[in-house]
Symmetry: C2
Subunit: 225 residues, 2 copies
């Protein structure tokens, strides 16, 4: 019972379930579970059966695609309020990627029957999920552009400009190795490209912090060359 209330509290602040009242939530919660995972823990493996999906309450999760020769590529990151795994559930296919916790996290698992029932009654939920999937489709398309159509330099510059900035300062949201993987680069390459940008006077780097003194000059990198 305490667990049920807990789930309601965790979910009702997410976009997905913002229009759920206490009753709706109680029904939903019957087919939900909370799940604590420690940093580096696996949430699911590629190939596992997807009979539900997850909402991040606290923490950060990464979706990683394993290649045939042991390489790994990060596809997406998920933070509080975001859900993951639902595309596989909707098409009744096993997970195509691994999900792993980047930090100690608290997740809510929601069973397929529960969400199916909720979709019949809550157009708002459907709309939010449609928007969520659409946004991710959009980013994935851009990622394909990134990975396939842009040079290492362009990828990094585009990524830097896409990060939230405070005045002339930005910050990598995670380790450089992970950033490299997201951009489809070898960590060594990321390092080299960063150095080049520094030498060209376009950025300054201190650990995860990046200073962009002249963002216009940086943007010119994308058109030029």
């Amino acid at each position: 019972m305490a667990e049920t209330l807990d789930i309601g509290n965790l979910l009702k602040h997410t976009r997905l379930f913002e229009d759920f009242d206490a009753d709706d939530m109680a029904v939903l919660a019957r087919d939900c579970r909370t799940q604590r995972v420690a940093r580096h823990d696996i949430v699911f493996n590629r190939g596992d059966h997807a009979d539900g999906f997850y909402v991040v309450a606290v923490g950060a999760i990464k979706l990683v695609l394993p290649g045939p020769h042991g390489q790994r590529k990060v596809i997406e990151f998920f933070g509080p309020g975001q859900c993951f795994g639902e595309p596989f559930m909707f098409i009744n296919r096993p997970y195509a990627a691994d999900a792993q916790a980047m930090e100690d996290s608290l997740l809510v698992w929601i069973g397929k029957p529960a969400i199916d029932a909720a979709l019949d009654v809550h157009p708002h939920l459907a709309r939010q999920m449609l928007a969520g999937l659409s946004a991710r489709l959009h980013t994935l398309m851009c990622d394909i552009e990134t990975v396939k159509l842009q040079s290492a330099n362009e990828r990094l510059v585009g990524y830097l400009l896409s990060l939230p900035r405070k005045f002339d300062r930005t910050r990598f949201p995670c380790s450089k190795s992970l950033v490299a993987s997201k951009l489809g680069l070898a960590p060594a390459t990321l390092s080299r490209v960063l150095r080049q940008l520094i030498q060209d006077g376009l950025i300054l780097v201190e650990g995860r912090d990046v200073v962009i003194p002249n963002s216009v000059a940086l943007e010119r990198q994308l058109q030029a060359a």
Copy 2:
């Protein structure tokens, strides 16, 4: 009026609208248009405002991502009954890719207000759209795997094995240049890899037709090396 009936006929055989009755369809059709496009015609351009989406009635459409240096990469193909453009509509962002007709085609355009209204009343429509988006998200993830994690050889072998087969025969669904683009390869590279597979006795190629005498041997290509 003739146009309205026309649209109803075109749409009611698609999965998306299979549970619509005549009244539902009439309401929807008020905010729809049919659109004929000839081979090579542009349906929309990257950057255009997405205030609706398209359903393919007849023909074939490709979504193409333009790179910063004039390269182009095919992201998706759409055939009869499939819809495209809706991810951009749902997130109120301009199209991120170009849509172009691969053959003379007949499309139905559906306005955002109409689909919004329909979603409130038809959970089935929502579910179908969720499934459609999920499936495409799934394929895009696999495409990223293809483009980034696999060699040219692996990409082609994987692709060949994924094509529908009749006994030991398959067929490229479109020109080799387009296949190459979908696989993220230069046409020249596709040509070379095909030749290698032929020399290794794994396939036979005649124009668009491909014979796979021993699919098990071909699958071994994916694990080996």
